[in-house]
Symmetry: C2
Subunit: 232 residues, 2 copies
DNA sequence: TAGATTGTTAATCGATTAACAATC
DNA sequence: TAGATTGTTAATCGATTAACAATC
């Protein structure tokens, strides 16, 4: 059933915890840049916008990286989380669809510092192939296979219109990509073993609209809300 | 404790269900545009990328809008979900921060059809105030108060750099906005009663990287995965 | 009536939280 | 030793899922 060997330390980290590790990593980077050497679970939880019990429970899945009575060494914990996520080295990424959003993504400066490297920008429209975006040539979509092979690309970003997204996903999967970040507002069908994460502006806004509608009714804070109401 | 009156039908819809209603709404729009008049929970679930038991459970929180032995009337269910979410009318939205991402958001065509209307684009940089983006004037950030009042804006979108985001959020809250969609890679502190949703490219990529790392180890599909592995 | 499909129940699973023993 | 803070336990809460009675 599984290919895991007992030599792998791979504890089973809950999905909800996995989704928060990057938040902790960013908070630690912030603390580090502010010159903080040591922090308590309470400090880090505040910086990350969660409660400290949840933070400690999350960290406990990685191991025991704190010191009772003292707290966590910021640099050490940061490295351990980066290692756990797998961003101690850079992941090569391709972006397909260089419209407005693709431009914004290509110009996003956080890629490099957070474990990613954009190795190619692809677009099906030949009129874009003259362009350079963020210092990177825009290349024909048909080059996908060659690029994935050349750079061992494992992660693909789709920023095409919705109608093109499934074809792009199919081509990515055929080229060997098994992790896809989809900005196109459409449900992608992918084979087993391929991960798709979706970022969808309309859906986020509609979730806000739902809660906003209820607020308007009572026109005062809901009962039982937390201080820091960040959902993600 | 709560301001709800018994006249309100407001059943308590679980947050996980709320987050899927927009997905169902979009799937129904797709079915409708394809000319489908009636669909089963199985059909709709497939279109939305979830399993049918979950779909039926979700819909049961809204009411009984299907017909046993027959299925759902696409238009009718679509309207009911739109009403539940609160997007039968348009919500006025402001976007603050008109860089690459702000441009992309302003040009996003799905706003109008999905229940939103961009009433203003704001930027602190005076050199941008000459510009028009997507046919809308870019205005000084200081106009926020007046614009929120004039258009009864309830939802704000932040697409500034991280260092500016908290100030923007504070100003939005002060102006009366109580729902914020934050694209800046930072945790926002907001008072009780204000909803923040976060969209974060690096975090999404890092979650993919985590799973990609594990795949590389075994180099074959994980056990116990679903057919359609869409996480959101 | 027979077949199809919903809406609901109940079991299971996973996530959150408070409390506190362990320990620096 | 006294104070501080972690890592873990156990209780609770919320979400998912399969199964099926209700009913078109």
């Amino acid at each position: 059933m599984t290919a895991r060997t007992s030599a792998e330390t791979a504890r089973d980290i809950p999905e909800a915890t996995v989704a928060r590790l990057p938040v902790y990593l960013r908070a630690l980077t912030g603390l580090s840049e502010a010159g903080t050497r040591t922090c308590s679970s309470e400090d880090l939880a505040t910086a990350a916008g969660v409660n400290s019990a949840k933070l400690r429970k999350d960290l406990s899945y990685l191991g025991s990286y704190g010191t009772r009575g003292v707290g966590y060494d910021v640099e050490y914990l940061r490295y351990q989380i980066a290692r756990e996520i797998g961003v101690t080295q850079d992941w090569p990424v391709v972006i397909v669809g260089i419209g407005n959003l693709g431009h914004a993504l290509a110009n996003f400066s956080g890629f490099r510092s957070r474990g990613f490297r954009v190795v190619a920008l692809l677009d099906a429209d030949p009129s874009r192939h003259a362009e350079q975006v963020a210092g990177i040539d825009v290349r024909p979509f048909d080059d996908l296979d060659a690029i994935v092979r050349e750079h061992a690309v494992a992660i693909g970003v789709i920023s095409t219109p919705a109608h093109a997204a499934q074809d792009v996903a199919d081509a990515m999967v055929a080229a060997g990509i098994r992790s896809i970040l989809n900005f196109a507002p459409t449900v992608l069908a992918v084979p087993e073993g391929v991960d798709v994460r979706k970022v969808d502006l309309s859906i986020e806004l509609q979730i806000l609209a739902y809660h906003e509608s209820r607020k308007a009714l009572g026109d005062q804070p809901e009962p039982g809300r937390q201080e820091q109401e960040v959902r993600s």
